[in-house]
Amino acid sequence: MADTRGVGRQSRVADIDGADRQSRVADIDGVDRQSRVADIDGVDRQSKVADIDGAGGPGLVGDSSRALASDSSRTYPLASDSWRTYRMVAGMWIRSTMTYRSSFALTLFSSFCVTFFDFVVILLMFGQVEGLGGFSFAEVAFLYGTTGTSFGLADLTMGSLQRMGRRVRDGSLDTFLMRPAPLLAQVAADKFALRRFGRVAQGLLVLVWALVLLDVAWTPVKVLLLPMMLVCGAVIFAAVMVLGASALFWMQDAAEVTSSFTYGGNTLLQYPPTIFAQELVRGVVYVVPLAFVNWLPALYVLGRPAPAGVPGWVAFASPLVALVCCGVAGIAWRAGIRSYRSTGS
């Protein structure tokens, strides 16, 4: 008797178990497979980490933390680590801005408008005159669109560097320096403002308009030159911004000087080089190589002679110039970090 009862109970339990498990599986299957996958993922990851921890056990906290440290103190290539950091920090700021969507839309729109009125000035001017320095409206718009897009891209990605002077002065750069991530990426992505995309959008819009109006005999070389000059232009502007930020390590109020090269350079490049004094044009070719952002390649595209008596091939030198600028900016940045003084206390 006792035996059979025991067996009976066992089988009942087994049944219940079976039913229970089945229904649970059914539930999971039926309701949402995704959560199950997430669960499995979670369990998997946990057990993997548990493995790592397992070696240590409760009494050997020091050991396991050492294992963790040696794992995490692995070094990563600077470029990929910077990119990873940038994405991470910028992503967080974008998410945090997006919590107020309508406010974001409004600021984006206003950023677009501010830069658009900038262009309205040129429109109004061409209502009065036929050409500017021998350049037609379409040609000036082409110059405007190319530098505007390049500058917009650089401003979008590196614009936060402008505020670094304050961080150097009040010592809050300390915080960035003690995190295991490249400093430049952290500072550049700090308070990443997607609204600055308004400037890029405006630049692209004017560029498209110019391309529609322009009467240019497009060759494959000219077609390729266009994206190249946009990218190299952005890189040159970005390098100038980094260079200016490096100067902030020594002169915390030098941000205005940098702005005169970046914002000022952008304004300069919107107009044809023929309206400026030769010395100024030579300056942006040889000293601060902003002419390589758009003037030199753009004049080639427009089929005009290069300014300041430079040879024709310099229209294609922008990538090289961008590379050199990056190198100089990188050296200056490193020197800057080394001479960072923090603040008292």
Partner: protein, 339 residues
């Protein structure tokens, strides 16, 4: 080799001053002037000194924020200064600094390391990824910190809206999420109320005991040191003045304890007890000073035998006074350098 090791570490700042229209005078200030010490794994060390002594500058060099002007420095086998990078031939301004950052935690009392405009939990999420903390470990550490530092209700609050005490707790948690082997605390209890101070201290003690985290602490609140650190280093003018047990400071500072004696009635000053010095009397209460290094028992016995004693108590010397005494000799110099 010690876990943290400094060898005649130096940091010199050049100060330029305007003198007239174009003239500038250059002056070198030695913030840290040849400091050497070693800290073993799991130690809890207090690092104290007057304002401008070079405490924070030392900490900033130990964390890789500042580059030393001279000397050598190693934390967990890593030397974050750029010269070592050049020597080892491994390029990148960030390499050694980031490697070190993975293994240390830093809390500045005067400044938050969190993102000012973001809720606490977003800051932590970013730390999680920036420090490449394994998920389970992150969750475990966060849960522990939230529980012990009582952060539960604060996680959704932007950092700028936190009170000083709350922010400090948030900062301490942030510094510990990646299981640092060393924790630097630069005035962690500054501006906190008594309850918050006690909570922070309790947490640090628990951390040191359970995780074996090495802790280096600068503070102006000597209660921090008394309650947490078995070893204390005193720095002044960028030089190490004392390194040893807290109790030993008394001997160095020639400090005295105070025996407060309540007698039955007003009596002439007690001056016949050996080893004690009469300080003052307030009616039937008399104050006797004796060296901090000697025992109070024979003194009490002698007083009790000769006088009608009602009550007595012993007052420990004020460490602040002890340290002030140590600094005393150099104070004049400092005043000059500030001028």
């Amino acid at each position: 080799m010690s876990f943290i090791e400094l060898e005649s570490l130096e940091k010199t700042f050049t100060i330029r001053r305007k003198e007239g229209l174009l003239k500038r005078s250059k002056r070198e200030v030695r913030a840290v002037d040849g400091i050497s010490f070693g800290v073993e794994r799991g130690e809890m060390v207090g690092y104290i000194g007057p304002n401008g002594a070079g405490k924070s500058t030392t900490i900033k060099m130990l964390t890789g924020i500042l580059t030393p002007s001279g000397g050598r420095l190693r934390v967990a086998g890593i030397d974050p200064s750029p010269s070592s990078r050049l020597r080892s031939g491994r390029g990148g301004p960030n390499r050694e600094r980031t490697r070190l950052a993975q293994r240390i935690g830093v809390v500045f009392g005067q400044r938050t390391t969190l993102w000012w405009d973001l809720p606490l939990k977003d800051s932590y999420g970013l730390m999680h990824r920036m420090y490449r903390i394994p998920d389970a470990r992150y969750r475990e550490n966060l849960d522990r910190c939230v529980e012990l530092l009582d952060l539960g209700e604060l996680l959704d609050v932007p950092v700028r809206q936190l009170s000083l005490g709350q922010r400090m707790r948030g900062d301490i948690a942030a510094a510990l999420l990646h299981d640092p082997e060393v924790l630097y605390l630069d005035e962690p209890t500054i501006g906190l109320d008594v309850v918050s101070k006690a909570r922070v201290r309790e947490f640090l003690r628990e951390l040191n005991a359970s995780q074996g985290t090495t802790v280096l602490l600068t503070t102006h609140d000597l209660t921090d040191i008394e309650q947490l650190c078995s070893r204390v280093m005193v720095i002044d003018h960028g030089k190490l003045m004392y390194d040893g047990k807290l109790a030993g400071l008394h001997a160095v500072g020639e400090s005295e304890r105070l025996l407060v004696v309540d007698l039955e009635r007003e009596l002439p000053p007690i001056e016949d007890v050996p080893g004690a010095r009469f300080v003052r009397a307030e009616g039937p209460r008399q104050y006797l000073a004796f060296p901090a290094s000697s025992s109070a028992a024979p003194l009490v016995a002698a007083v009790a035998a000769a006088y009608p004693l009602v009550d007595l108590s012993v007052r420990e010397p004020d460490i602040e006074a002890v340290i002030a005494k140590m600094y005393g000799g150099t104070r004049e110099e400092r005043r000059e350098s500030l001028m």
